[in-house]
């Protein structure tokens, strides 16, 4: 009875993904312990975040993809409305309006859009499946750009970029014509001066400093300089857990959140970095596999988008910490401290598992 109950409990859990996720979480806790100056309170808080994320994952995994399809429109509309509410009534902190106080707690609606936007687009393109025209892609672009513009206005470049990416992956996988893509690249190139002029000063500065961090070694360049020093000084085998001097002596800024990868790179070296890259690659690969095996267009598009978005997280974060991408506020998935991003990840993995484990049902249906 009990074993049957347990089997039932894990019926919709993808064991490969789960193993990788748990392993990554374990690594994350170890690195966080080191990065936080060996504060167990930080680690236990993160364990709660992880537990919540895992429960959310389990719950979503048990929901059929069809049911998810059904909430696509309400979730999207809710998300956009919340973003508008943020723009109107949001709390300002650090010069940005990102949070909405809903009485019991503060929420960050932009985070919701990371999933709501691709779900909405996947739903739209699955509905239009066989007769996709150029108009569909324009409508898709509009669906995506509404929340993205609202997020950019906050401003939150990192999240806007990730939402754009997650939506774009759906459109791309849905079969957006190469001509459009090439045209888009040309258009972005042509519009980049205008885009540049729309950026906030600090955002421009970040891009300038990426090109030459020594411009401002004590200001905005400091993050990149210190994180590359941390990674570079780690060498092949790293300085050892809890022994990273850049980390332990506070030279690394934001080392429990966005720059936690520098802690990892310093203490575990190139070997650790390659192993972590491999672990992420397996998760992404598993996501691709689930997408390729999915039986409905909605599932396919959504699974592919989630896998690619997860990849984007990893790439953008490690790229910025190692100094090849500008500093945008993107955490390292499963490793960086933070409840919201962990929950979003849990929901995303839950969606992947749902798609993977409800295939037969779909096929039968």
């Amino acid at each position: 009875m009990i074993s049957k109950f347990i089997t039932g409990l894990f019926k919709h859990i993808d064991s490969v993904l789960l193993a990788c996720i748990l392993f990554a979480m374990l690594v994350g806790l170890l690195v966080l312990f080191s990065a936080s100056g060996q504060q167990l309170s930080r680690v236990s808080a993160q364990m709660i975040n992880m537990a919540v994320a895992l429960v959310a994952m389990w719950a979503v995994a048990n929901v059929q993809p069809q049911h998810i399809e059904r909430i696509a429109i309400p979730a999207y509309i809710l998300g956009v409305l919340l973003l508008i509410a943020v723009a109107l009534f949001g709390d300002i902190s650090h010069g940005a309006r990102r949070w909405l106080n809903i009485g019991i707690t503060k929420i960050q609606p932009s985070e919701l859009l990371k999933l709501a936007a691709p779900i909405m687009l996947a739903w739209y393109f699955s509905k239009r499946e066989s007769n996709l025209t150029a108009l569909d892609f324009i409508i898709g672009a509009v669906i995506l750009m509404v929340p993205v513009l609202l997020i950019m206005k906050q401003p939150d470049l990192g999240t806007a970029m990730l939402v754009t990416a997650s939506g774009f992956y759906v459109i791309f996988l849905a079969g957006l014509s190469w001509r459009f893509i090439l045209g888009g690249v040309v258009l972005v190139g042509a519009l980049s001066p205008i885009f540049w002029s729309l950026l906030h000063d600090y955002q421009r500065r970040r891009i300038e400093i990426l090109i030459d961090p020594t411009q401002d070694p004590l200001g905005s360049g400091y993050h990149i300089i210190q994180s590359t020093i941390a990674i570079g000084s780690g060498g092949v085998a790293g300085k050892g857990w809890l022994n990273g001097t850049q980390t332990q002596l506070d030279f690394l800024p934001e080392r429990t959140t966005d720059f936690i990868f520098a802690v990892f790179g310093e203490e575990f070296g190139l070997i650790g970095n390659i192993l972590l890259l491999t672990l992420f690659a397996i998760i992404i690969g598993r996501g691709f596999y689930i997408a390729s095996q999915a039986k409905s267009t909605f599932s396919r598009l959504l699974a592919g988008s989630i896998a690619m978005t997860f990849f984007t997280y990893c790439f953008v974060n490690m790229g910025m910490v190692s100094g090849i991408l500008p500093v945008v506020g993107v955490p390292l998935p499963l490793i960086s401290y933070g409840g919201t991003s962990m929950l979003t990840l849990g929901l995303g993995f839950g969606l992947l598992m749902s798609i993977q484990t409800h295939k037969k049902l779909v096929a039968a249906g």
Partner: protein, 649 residues
């Protein structure tokens, strides 16, 4: 058909999706590959570089400056020492608004105009990243007040610094020197000497006197602490350390009490005194008046004090003893006398009939004696005693300039004495070659004549005069003079005495020495030019008075001390050694514009000798700058009987 079309569509769509998915996977793979390459580049190719950067981030070398050695007088009286004081220091580069910071700061602790001026001067002289004191010597309450409000003042720090202090104030500053902040010139010198690394963490360096000359002994060696620091620059732990070694203590030959008595005896007058122990070369007193308070320089001197010192007409900053050059006047005569005697000239019973002037053969120019009526019959001994110019005019002419200068050079004239502190000048002993080089003119006989009485081109420093006197007292054996007697190793307490160095040794006939000595002893006896100085001494003093002209007196013009500007009055000179039969002290005194050597400079010498030989200290009620001697003093009694010495020798 419709079904199959839909199926085909579906399959087609699935195929397209797989193509797209493969492309996405490839892109992801390429991106991860790029990251891998980036890690390889950072962690293997550039590892050494980043390793170095990380190490320099975390490791800081903190110099620990050593305690500067003490300076003590010959009896152990402290002349320079160190103590801890709280200072408030500002690092200009870390302060955004200097004026506001200073304004807010002065609400907490008092910052005077003097502090502010000094701060501005130091700030202008320092780099912006160096911390500059704005207030020194904070008391406990002020320090605590600032500590509580520290967070309000980024870039302002409370430091505890070891400060140099000269407890005797102005006493002997020209001998002791002082320390002040290292400037660009000092830095260049330290670099040149390859000792710059030993000065990390040291802000001050010796300037002048023993502080400068014995800088290497006094400074000690800087210790280092290799500390691990965090991003805030706070030391987390010490990785390794090497303790500093304190500077060695320096014991002077100077007798602080003697020095004080001498300085007091000068009063407001300008001048110099050097007292030497003839047999050892130990400098017992080294006076240059006026002197100044070296403590002013330790914090960095403020504008007002600096201007006052630098622009004073009395030039207190000039070390007269080493740099002041004066015509020796009649104090030169004993040396000329010895030159003559050693050359076989003027041996007793030779004497002249002095009519009050001397003329060269075939010339009508009169070289006048200080006594217009002449001294009558004068032999060598009397010539010294009464300072007969006529006698020495003739002797100098007969000796000739070369023979004369060659001889007296053995007494150190015209060259540095080799004293162990810096800045000495060599004076001038004129020769025909020198004149040719300097003026492209031939030497005239008349110039030889006036060298015989210490006039003309001849110039001496007070140090040289004292050295020559000590050499004479030491019967022609010249000992290198030194202000430092010994260096005491701070670690081992091993005392390294400064070696006694014989610089020159003249084989003088004792009967010649005896004649000169007898003449000099007579100087301080009734009938001599400084009879008042020797009166009631209780020991015999061999001495010679001298007067050096400040302005030229024309032929047939009469010098009147009272009718001319005080600054144009003659300099008073006096040399002496005592006790004459076994000299323990030799000295030279110059009182600028003091008039006559016997009355102005002699009493100062007497006070010093009384202290040194008899342990007698001048009574406190005697005002140090009183020119008038107290009743019952030997000077008063003598003045009556030897009125002539009041005029001119």
């Amino acid at each position: 058909m419709a079904y199959s079309a839909e199926l085909r569509n579906h399959l087609n769509e699935q195929h397209n999706f797989r193509v797209r998915l493969t492309i996405a996977a490839l892109l992801a793979l390429i991106a991860f590959g790029a990251l891998g390459l980036r890690f390889y580049y950072l962690q293997i190719q550039r590892h050494d570089y980043y390793h170095t950067l990380a190490e320099s981030n975390r490791i800081s070398i903190v110099p620990i400056s050593p305690n500067r050695g003490l300076i003590l007088d010959r009896n152990g009286i402290v002349l320079a020492h160190n103590f801890f004081v709280y200072t408030l220091e500002v690092t200009p580069s870390k302060v955004s608004n200097m004026d506001t910071t200073i304004a807010n700061l002065s609400e907490l602790v008092e910052i005077s105009m003097v502090d502010l001026k000094r701060f501005k001067k130091l700030k202008a002289e320092s780099h912006s990243f160096e911390s500059v004191p704005i207030r020194t010597h904070l008391n406990e309450i002020e320090a605590a007040k600032f500590a509580v409000n520290r967070y309000r003042f980024p870039g302002v720090e409370l430091k505890s610094r070891l400060y140099r202090h000269y407890p005797q104030g102005k006493l002997g500053t020209h001998a002791i020197g002082y320390i002040s902040r290292i400037n660009e010139k000092d830095l260049a010198k330290l670099k040149e000497d390859n000792v710059i690394s030993n000065y990390k963490g040291t802000d001050h360096i010796g300037k002048g006197g023993v502080e400068q000359a014995y800088e290497r002994e006094l400074h000690g060696s800087t210790g280092f602490q290799q500390v691990e620091i965090n991003a805030d620059g706070k030391a987390v732990r010490v990785l390794s350390s090497a303790a500093p070694t304190s500077g060695n203590n320096v014991v002077l030959s100077i007798d602080a009490k003697l020095q004080a008595i001498a300085e007091k005896a000068f009063g407001d007058r300008r001048g110099s005194l050097v007292a030497i122990q003839p047999s050892t070369g130990e400098v017992l007193g080294f006076v240059s008046m006026p002197t100044f308070d070296p403590n002013l320089f330790v914090d960095g001197i403020d504008y007002d004090n600096w201007n006052a010192l630098n622009n004073s007409i009395d030039k207190p900053l000039i070390n007269r003893t080493l740099k002041g050059i004066y015509p020796p006047g009649s104090t030169f005569k004993p040396f000329v006398a010895l030159a003559g005697l050693e050359a076989g000239k003027r041996e007793p019973p030779y004497s002249i009939q002095d009519a009050g002037y001397f003329t060269l053969p075939n010339s009508r120019h009169r070289y006048r004696d200080w006594k217009p009526s002449g001294h009558g019959s004068v032999d060598m001994r009397k010539a010294i005693t009464i300072s007969c110019d006529t006698f020495f005019y003739g002797l100098a002419m007969e000796l000739g300039i070369e023979r004369l200068t060659d001889f007296v050079r053995h007494f150190g004239f015209g060259q540095k004495t080799g004293l162990d502190i810096h800045g000495e000048v060599s004076g001038l002993l004129p020769t025909p070659e020198w004149k040719k080089r300097r003026f492209k003119q031939p030497w005239y006989m008349g110039e030889t004549v006036i060298v015989g009485i210490g006039q003309g081109y001849t110039l001496v420093t007070p140090m040289q005069l004292a050295y020559a006197t000590a050499t004479l007292a030491n019967q022609g054996t010249a000992i290198r003079p030194h202000i430092v007697n010994a260096v005491v190793n701070s670690k081992t307490n091993v005392v390294t005495p400064i070696a006694r160095t014989v610089l020159d040794k003249l084989n003088l006939k004792s009967q010649n020495l005896d004649i000169v000595k007898a003449g000099m002893v007579d100087v301080t006896l009734p009938g001599g030019t400084a009879a008042s100085v020797g009166a009631n001494a209780g020991y015999s003093i061999a001495a010679k008075t001298g007067t050096a002209q400040v302005i030229g007196i024309k032929q047939n013009e009469k010098y009147n001390e009272h009718s001319i500007n005080e600054r144009h009055r003659d300099h008073a000179l006096f040399i002496a050694y005592a006790p004459a039969e076994a000299p323990k002290i030799a000295l030279a005194v110059i009182v600028e514009n003091g008039g006559h050597g016997g009355s102005a400079a002699g009493p100062i010498a007497r006070k010093v000798m009384d202290y040194y030989l008899l342990g007698k200290e001048p009574a406190e009620e005697i005002a140090p700058n009183a020119v008038v001697p107290p009743p019952n003093s030997p000077a008063n009694n003598a003045a009556e009987t030897h009125a002539e010495e009041e005029h001119y020798d």
